[in-house]
Structure formats: C-alpha cells, structure tokens
Symmetry: C2
Subunit: 207 residues, 2 copies
C-alpha cells in the first residue's frame, strides 16, 4: 500500500524541527516506516542547491531564478526520495514543500501565482501531500525565537514585511485547502503544540 505524505510548514521560529522529531518518533512507534526529509534539500544535488539558495553572500539571485531553483531541487527530491518511498509503502515526513514556495516566493517575493502554478503542475501535478501541518505564529515572536538560534540566512535577512506576507500566504493556502491543511497555533508550550499535532494525525490519517 502506498505510504502517506505529510508536510510540515511554517515561518521562522515556529518550531518545525522540534515537531518533525516528535511526529517521526510517534509514527515510528506506531509501526510505520518513516522517511524524514526537508526542502530545499533531501538529495545530494538538492542540498547543493540549498546551500546556494540560503547563502547570504549570494544576493544576486533573481526572483524567477530562485523559483526555478526551488523546483529543480524539488524535482530531484521527488524522483530520488519521495516517490520511491511512497511507492514502497513508507511514510514521508517533509520539512517544507510547495506550500513554502507559494508562501516565500509567492507571498514574500510577490512572484505571480500563475508562474508557481505552472511549475507545480510540471513537477508534481499528480502528487500532493495527504496532510499539511502549518505551524502558525505571529511574525515578531517567530523572528525572536529564530534569531536566538543561529545567524540569519539569505531569507532571514529579509525585512519584517516579507515575513508578514509569508505568513498571510500560508494562511491563504490553508483556507483554500482545508481538507489537506491543519493550522496549529505554535505559540503555546511544546507539549500543548505536540498534543494538537498528534490529534491531527489521528483524526486526519488514523495514525
């Protein structure tokens, strides 16, 4: 039986990494084989592209080139990791996927939705996540958390307004596809957030 495809989305400092681990552990304990991966990245090629995309010294990347690089990394990730895993019955848990492109390149950078839609169709028109967990947090709070963690990458150097647009685009995506999305308030303590995510896994996927 084909595995399930779960994506975790959210802005800076929303706690995705912590919750990724919890979800992977939970699914593993429930007897599912889990492939935990991330975007951009997840393959040798795509991690090279991630380095280029996040390197704050690479300031000369046009919006359209960035968009195409994201989908190039995604195409490789799908071919090499995601599709084979789902086909052999593993569950795939991915830190960011195409909703992040809608949020960052669409919302944040203001690139036309029709360009993103064309590339989404080209690269994975036939495959969408079964469940997308969106960790939502006010921008101010997320950036404060993120800044305590590490130096800013090329995206984290953007001004405040960029992240407001990212957050809004994420919420718009969720509202447009409620059957796929669960929006989780990421402000409460870790155990509370995790309890809500666990409920979502049970209700949506029976996991």
């Amino acid at each position: 039986m084909r595995g399930r495809f779960i994506t975790m989305e959210g802005g800076e400092g929303a706690g995705k990494s912590t919750m990724m681990e919890r979800v992977a552990d939970w699914l593993g304990q429930s007897g599912y084989r889990v492939v935990q991966t991330r975007e951009p990245g997840g393959t040798v090629l795509a991690e090279k592209l991630r380095d280029i995309l996040l390197d704050r010294n690479n300031l000369s990347i046009s919006g359209k080139a960035e968009l195409l690089l994201m989908f190039a990394a995604r195409a490789q990730h799908l071919d090499e990791v995601i599709r084979p895993a789902l086909e052999r019955g593993d569950w795939v848990l991915c830190d960011r996927f195409t909703d992040a492109t809608w949020a960052y390149q669409g919302g944040g950078r203001g690139l036309p939705g029709e360009d993103i839609a064309v590339l989404e169709t080209l690269v994975h028109g036939d495959l969408q996540p079964d469940l997308t967990l969106l960790l939502d947090l006010p921008v101010e709070q997320g950036l404060k958390r993120a800044s305590r963690r590490s130096a800013a990458d090329r995206f984290e150097m953007e001004p405040h307004g960029f992240f407001e647009q990212v957050r809004q685009a994420y919420l718009d995506r969720a509202a447009a596809a409620p059957e796929r999305f669960v929006v989780i308030d990421a402000a409460p303590a870790v155990e509370e957030v995790w309890s809500r995510i666990r409920s979502a896994l049970q209700e949506r996927l029976g996991a």
Copy 2:
C-alpha cells in the same frame, strides 16, 4: 536603439569557441559594443549551476531537475546580463541558449517538448535571438575533435546515439525557424567556416 542578440549553437567539437572569438572581433571592429557570454553560465550564480551540471561526478540529476536548472541559470543570465546589455544598445553574443535545451534535454534526453515550451515561455517568452548560427558537423567527427581537447564532462560521457539525437534536434529547430537560423557546415577549414559566418552576419543583420 536596442542591440542585437546572436546565439551560437552546435554539438561537441563543432568549433563554437573559435568562431565566437571571430564574430566578437569582427563586430567590435565594425564599431559595435559586444557582450560575449555563454550558457549555462554568464553570471556568478549561473556559473555555479554550470559547475553542478557539467561535473561528471553528479550522475544523480534527473532529466526534469536538469531542465529546471538550465532555465534557472538562464533566468539569472537574462536578468543580470542579456536584457540589460540589449537595452543599453550592446550586441550580445551567446555561446548556446534555449535551442541547446531543445537539442540536449529535448533531443538527447527525450524530455517532452511541451515541458520545454512551458519553461521557455515562463523565462523569455518575449525575447528570442535575432540570429542563431548553428555549426553542424557529423557526430563522429565532432566527438573526435572534442576528445582531443579535454576530459569528458557529464554530457560528453553520453553514448553516441545521444549526440545523434542532439544533432537531429538542432537541425529540426533550424528547419522550423529558417528566418532566425543559419546552418553552417562546420567540416571545412576554419577560414572557410568563418567566411560563411561573416556572410550570414552581413546578410541577416547588415553587420
């Protein structure tokens, strides 16, 4: 006045580099400001992508990822180099452009033409070369010349049949757009090939 956009195409060992220099010198002597560039490449980002695409150790690049990387590099090249140059009136002389994608990824790899067309429209639907010089040579002869020059890159490691498909796709492109293409037989001696290219520049662009 907007400058002219000239592309040079052809398979391995067809003599593009030599002819690029001749064309650039000729146009310069005729008083045009010439920007000489290449694809994939021509900008810091795109040269990084070129390194990835040509590195023979990167065998794990899917056809679709390769296609998207080519257009990512091209988007940056257009934004950063080609469009600004043409707008300030310079002539742009580019070693390979989208016809090479049709030849290598379309003909050679067999990727669907509709995918290439979608990306071409997305990245430069409004801009096409004014003149494309296609240096045509039997595959056997080209590969022999190329192998004397340097170690094989990721493309040059492909089997003979790949290059036959590349050549045929180039010739098909030329036949479909005779108003833009001039096919030059690259088998004769350098001076003879150059004389034909010079004639094409004069007849097609008055240069």
